[in-house]
Amino acid sequence: MSGDDSIVFIVDDDPSMCEALTRLLGTVGRRAQAFNTAQEFLSTKRPDTPSCLVLDVRLPGLSGLDLQRELAKADPPIQIVFMTAHGDIPMTVQAMKAGAVEFLTKPFRDQQLLDAVQQAIDRDRIARRHRAELAELRQRHESLTPREREVMTLVVTGLLNKQIAAELRTSEATVKAHRAQLMHKMKAVSVAQLVRITERLGFLPPGR
């Protein structure tokens, strides 16, 4: 709970609320940064650490929901915890559908908030890890030569080396060599794994 590099962003037009929340989060050792308007938050550069956003729905200028929409477009996405002085069901539903972590009504119990924040940070962490992994896989794929990519494409469709060689009008030996190389590069130990990598990368082979 303490000592990690995560940060909690707070956007609320009531400075008292901002102050109180910052204090509360401080009691559990979380870092917090508060903004009074959505615009301020958007224009501030976010550090690349796990983070989440605690957002009041009713804001001057850009409303909370609007901000959510904006942030959904942005990359990387951020986890949001909504709060409001008065809520109605349509607003809640809309926010949750758009991917919010939690929707809290003021005044809320401290534990509610802290749990929501934890959840959000965790989500963010996972998301980050996934993104990093994907980036890694992509990089590996980039390092393949074009020939190797071709071979990989055909390998994941379940073709034998012989068939691949026929397809590419080359020798089986060459194919084998390519195959070994690409498996190494992609750090895959089996065809099944290679297939999974391909899926993750989004290069699903056309069905045969």
Partner: protein, 1085 residues
């Protein structure tokens, strides 16, 4: 010697007469009978009467005196008569002479001459019959008294003697003095010899008869032949001379008793009487004969002279006729020609015999013979003068020439025609000239008709060809330095095409050279002339051997074309050819010039047709003679309708000055310009700017008036409009120049500045407001405007009238050029507007604020937000505190901060609540007397746009006599607004019918007091099943978004004002909500 003037009868003549008288008296004495002194013949009688007849009466006294003297001397001195007797005798002679002369003078015209029979008879009759007896009377008386002789016999003797003297001696003197003043031609020798012979022979004969021969009674008769000889050969002179001789010898012989008369058986006086008788009769006879012969002679002479004169005239006439260069002829009354003048004979080759016979037709052109003869016959028959144009054949070459033959008849005194006299004049040249002129006229007519140039040129060529023989004419037009084909009706096409476009020059054929040299060029032989070197081969194949060319000049001497005349043989022009060419060339110049001018005129006329202005020409009676297409457009009358009409009537002209004044100005200066009012065909009145000019003829008299009219109605309207705008518009307008000075101001500006225009114009804009303000506000705007920008701004100004809002607009003005010369500044006073806007904005803000505060839904939301915030912060801070305290070493400083925040936020929450309550309580203090009508109007202003957006049709019925109501303006406005809003909402979805909203306010009475009833009626959805009570329940609403607070709050406001609010559904659609409030009766709350 002329004796017909007194002066001529001078002393010499008188003396001569006296001597003659004396001599003749002595002769008388000598011849008197010795017995009794009877004179047998008294010569002085004749002498004196003759002398008196030859001289003027004024001379008679001296002659008579001379005679008397002579007579007296003779009678008294020589013959011893007593004085008184001789005087008496003188008196008798005087009497006789005077009476005779005077009477004869009366009877016979002067000068007296015996050569007329009448004169002779008068002489004899008066002299012998009257004068002599009178004188004899006196003489006889004297004799009777003096000598005692018988009166009768004395008288007779005296009478006869004097008579004989008169008859014999009188004529003698008269005959030899007959030629008065005329020198007689000396007689020829033969005549003198003959006269002498006659005198001698007569004397001898007489002597023989009376003296030598035995007395034979018939003897005296033998003297008659001699006397006849004298009369016949020598006239009166011969007669008188013969008579004198005979008389003297007869008397002398008889006195001597010799001769036939001296017969013994007669008394002594009887023979004398016989002799006297013989002498008287003889004298009378031969004098008469002489007179008659004289007269005959004279007549014959005159006739002879006449005849001679006539013959001479005739000869002269014939000479004239023969010499004059006319052809004259005469014809008898039956038409046969009997004289033909020499020229005509020579010309026609006819002789007179030929002409008189049937030969004359040979000289006449066969085609004319029939007509000519017919006309001649007709004239002969009718006697009318004859006239005919006919061709005579010229014998020399057989050519026929035209003559005009005319003849007139000569009539005698009965009117019958005696002769015909005719003259034929050569009119051949004239006819040719006429033909040429006719040809020229035709060409000119072609030009005047506006026929094409090609046709005119063709006509000219044909004219030349008609009047000059064997010629082929052509015309080439000069274009720059090339000659282009104009016309050549008879030349071969190939040739004309070949020379088309030839360049003029010193050796360019006849035509080119003529154009180059600007003078005629004659080439008699194309084959040899050097000028045709370049064109010879072109011309010769077409058999063209001679070419004469003349340039055709314009009126300013420039060559515009050339004539070229070709012949098929080498030849040079005759004088006649040249004259024809000259004439036609001149005509060609005129025609070509005219054709050019025509083209120019057509162009100019077309311009007139294009001109948009109305161009009218009218004569001095203002009748329209020309009406251009511009006038048709301007006035709507077609040309045929306008021409001939009086322009002032047609156009219903109205002059700014009188018509007479305008005409006078026009006559004086020839120009008039001004603005008129005209009425078009359609009846529209227009204003035209007219410029009139007087057209004058060569003498300077006015002939017509040219009017150029431009319709300036639009411009005038525009100007008028502009003026109206400037003068009468509600805004203050001024024009400021680049020098920041006023150029023009309008009346509103004057009022604004509270200064007359004269004081403002010219002043610098900075002057009234002060230069600082000018620099700050006016100058920057003006500068922007001068730079070409349209500037608009509105500001609050402090003026003499207080604080005012002006909207100022500045527009750049470029009156003449692209440069901005001035700024048009328009200032609109929007003070009231702005104040109203401000007040409205204030009202709106208040109302908005009020509505936001009063409407419970809003209120709740605002409370919720404003209170929840601090409360939520408090809760969170509290949680934070608990957590901070839950550790082993609690963070006390942070905890304290948290607690301080909690208290702060709690106070904030309290303040919010307090503020809300305060707002709610506000209402009780602000109650004033109100005009509900105005309250309603204010609210209507606010919802206007809302109603427009929902297409609500608003009707108001606000009475003027509403009593004032005491109340809170804001709250009551809120109520009205609530009702209106409800009504609008109710009709929001109404379709198919009118969204009518009626708001009304009128006096009403509730109980004993007066009041105001306000009603809002809509055509909306109505109650929709709810009951009245349900509507007014708190939170009840039919509106989808509503919170249901409106009506209940409104009701509580009305109740707190002492009134009542209720609603009823309408019979048709919608509902009506009404409230009633008590009128304020002047009490202060």
């Amino acid at each position: 010697m002329r004796w017909d003037s007194v002066a001529a009868v001078g002393w010499p003549v008188t003396a001569a007469y006296a001597l003659a008288y004396f001599a003749s008296a002595e002769l008388g004495w000598a011849l008197s009978v010795s017995i009794g002194n009877y004179a047998t013949i008294w010569p002085p009688s004749g002498l004196s009467v003759a002398a008196l007849l030859l001289t003027p009466p004024r001379a008679w006294p001296r002659l008579l005196a001379a005679g008397v003297l002579a007579n007296f001397v003779s009678d008294y001195a020589l013959h011893g008569l007593p004085a008184w007797v001789s005087l008496s005798f003188c008196a008798a002679n005087v009497l006789e002479g005077t009476v005779a002369a005077a009477l004869v003078r009366r009877l016979v015209p002067q000068p007296f001459t015996l050569e007329r029979l009448v004169s002779t008879i008068a002489f004899v009759g008066v002299g012998g019959g009257i004068a002599v007896p009178c004188g004899a009377l006196v003489g006889a008386l004297t004799v009777t008294i003096a000598f005692g002789k018988g009166f009768g016999e004395s008288w007779l003797t005296w009478w006869i003697a004097d008579l004989v003297g008169l008859l014999v001696f009188g004529p003698l003197l008269l005959a030899f003095r007959n030629a008065i003043g005329v020198r007689e031609a000396p007689a020829s020798r033969r005549r003198i010899v003959e006269a002498a012979l006659f005198a001698v022979s007569t004397a001898i004969a007489t002597a023989v008869v009376f003296d030598l021969l035995p007395p034979y009674r018939g003897g005296p008769i033998a003297l008659y032949p001699f006397l006849l000889w004298g009369v016949v050969r020598f006239g009166m002179r011969g007669a008188s001379a013969g008579l004198v001789l005979v008389s003297l010898i007869t008397v002398a012989s008889t006195l001597a008793d010799r001769g036939p008369f001296a017969v013994a058986d007669l008394p002594p006086l009887g023979d004398m009487r016989l002799a006297q008788f013989f002498l008287c009769i003889t004298a009378l006879s031969f004098l008469s004969l002489a007179a008659v012969i004289h007269e005959r002679d004279r007549a014959a002479r005159e006739l002879g002279d006449l005849y001679h004169t006539v013959r001479q005239s005739e000869r002269r006439l014939r000479d004239v006729v023969e010499t004059m260069p006319t052809f004259a002829w005469t014809a008898r009354s039956d038409g046969v020609i009997d004289f033909v003048s020499r020229h005509l004979r020579t010309y026609s080759g006819l002789s007179e015999e030929d002409a008189s016979g049937a030969g004359w037709p040979a000289a006449v052109h066969p085609a004319d013979i029939g007509r000519h003869e017919a006309r001649w016959r007709a004239s002969l028959a009718s006697g009318d003068p004859f006239e005919d144009e006919v061709r005579y054949r010229r014998d020399a070459d057989g050519a026929y020439r035209w003559f005009l033959a005319r003849a007139v008849p000569l009539r005698d005194e009965r009117g019958a025609i005696v002769r015909w006299y005719g003259v034929s004049t050569d009119i051949d040249d004239r006819r040719r000239a006429e033909a040429l002129l006719a040809g020229e006229k035709r060409v000119l007519e072609m030009v005047a008709r506006g026929e094409s140039l090609a046709q005119v040129l063709d006509g000219l060529c044909r004219l030349v060809e008609d009047h000059a023989d064997d010629v082929l004419a052509s015309i080439l037009l000069l274009d720059g330095d090339r000659l282009r084909h104009g016309a050549a009706p008879s030349l071969p096409r190939a040739y004309t095409e070949a020379i088309d476009g030839a360049v003029i020059g010193p050796r360019a054929g006849s035509f080119g050279t003529a154009a180059y040299r600007r003078e005629p060029v004659i080439v008699s032989d194309i084959a040899t002339d050097p000028l045709w070197a370049d064109y010879r081969e072109t011309a010769l194949p077409h058999a063209l051997r001679a070419c004469w060319s003349t340039p055709i000049l314009s009126s300013d001497g420039a060559v515009i074309a050339t004539f070229a005349m070709y012949y098929r043989e080498p030849r040079s022009p005759s004088a006649r050819d040249q004259s024809i060419i000259e004439q036609i060339t001149h005509l060609a110049g005129v025609a070509l010039q005219r054709a050019r001018t025509e083209e120019e005129l057509k162009k100019q006329a077309a311009l007139l047709g294009l001109a948009p202005d109305a161009i009218i020409v009218r004569d001095l009676e203002s009748r329209i003679t020309f009406w251009n297409p511009g006038a048709v457009t301007t006035y709507g009358w077609a040309a045929e309708d306008a021409i001939g009409r009086v322009s002032h009537d047609l156009l219903q002209t109205r002059f700014p000055v009188s018509l007479a004044a305008a005409d006078a100005a026009l006559q004086e200066t020839g120009q008039w310009e001004g603005e008129l009012r005209h009425v078009t065909r359609q009846g529209t009145a227009i204003v035209v700017n007219t410029r009139m000019s007087l057209l004058r003829d060569a003498r300077g008299a006015g002939t017509a008036i040219l009017e150029i009219n431009r319709d300036i109605s639009e411009r005038m309207r525009a100007e008028h409009l502009t003026r109206q705008v400037f003068d009468r518009g509600p805004d203050a307008i001024c024009v400021v120049g680049r020098d920041y000075r006023y150029q023009r101001v309008n009346p509103v500006y004057e009022r604004m500045q509270q200064m007359p225009a004269e004081k403002i114009v010219g002043r610098h804009v900075a002057e009234p407001p002060g230069s600082a303000i000018f620099e700050q506000s006016a100058k920057p705007h003006l500068d922007r405007c001068f730079a070409g920008e349209h500037v608009r701004h509105g500001e609050w100004f402090t003026t003499a009238a207080g604080r005012q809002y002006f909207s100022v607009s500045l527009s750049p003005l470029h009156p003449e050029s692209d440069r901005v010369e001035a700024a048009l500044v328009i200032i609109r006073d929007l003070t009231d507007h702005m104040l109203a806007v401000e007040s409205l904005q204030t009202t709106q803000a208040e109302l908005a604020r009020a509505s936001r505060v009063i409407t419970l839904g809003e209120l709740t939301a605002s409370i919720a937000h404003e209170v929840t915030q601090p409360l939520a912060a408090i809760v969170t801070n509290g949680d934070a505190c608990l957590r901070l305290l839950a550790t082993d070493l609690p963070n006390l400083s942070e905890t304290r901060k948290a607690v301080a925040s909690i208290i702060r936020d709690a106070r904030r929450a309290v303040a919010v609540v307090a503020r809300v309550r305060a707002l709610l309580k506000k209402s009780d203090v602000d109650r004033t007397p109100l005009d509900l009508g105005q309250v309603i109007r204010d609210v209507l202003a606010l919802v206007q746009s809302e109603m427009a957006r929902h297409r609500i049709v608003l009707r108001t019925s606000l009475a003027d006599d509403l009593p004032p109501v005491l109340g809170d303006r804001i709250q009551l406005q809120q109520v009205v607004l609530n009702l209106l809003t409800n009504a609008i909402e109710a009709m929001r979805d109404v379709a198919g019918r009118r969204r009518g909203l009626l708001i009304s306010a009128r006096r009403d009475d509730i109980g004993p007091d007066a009041g105001v009833l306000v009603a809002v009626e809509d055509a909306g959805v109505g109650f929709e099943g709810a009951s009245v009570d349900q509507l007014f329940e708190t939170l009840y609403t039919t509106k989808p978004d509503g919170l249901g607070m409106g009506l209940s709050i409104s009701q509580s406001i009305i109740r707190s004002h002492g009134g009542r609010l209720w609603g009823t559904p309408n019979a048709g659609h919608g509902a009506t909500f009404q409230f009633v409030l008590p009128a304020w009766i002047g009490q202060t709350p």
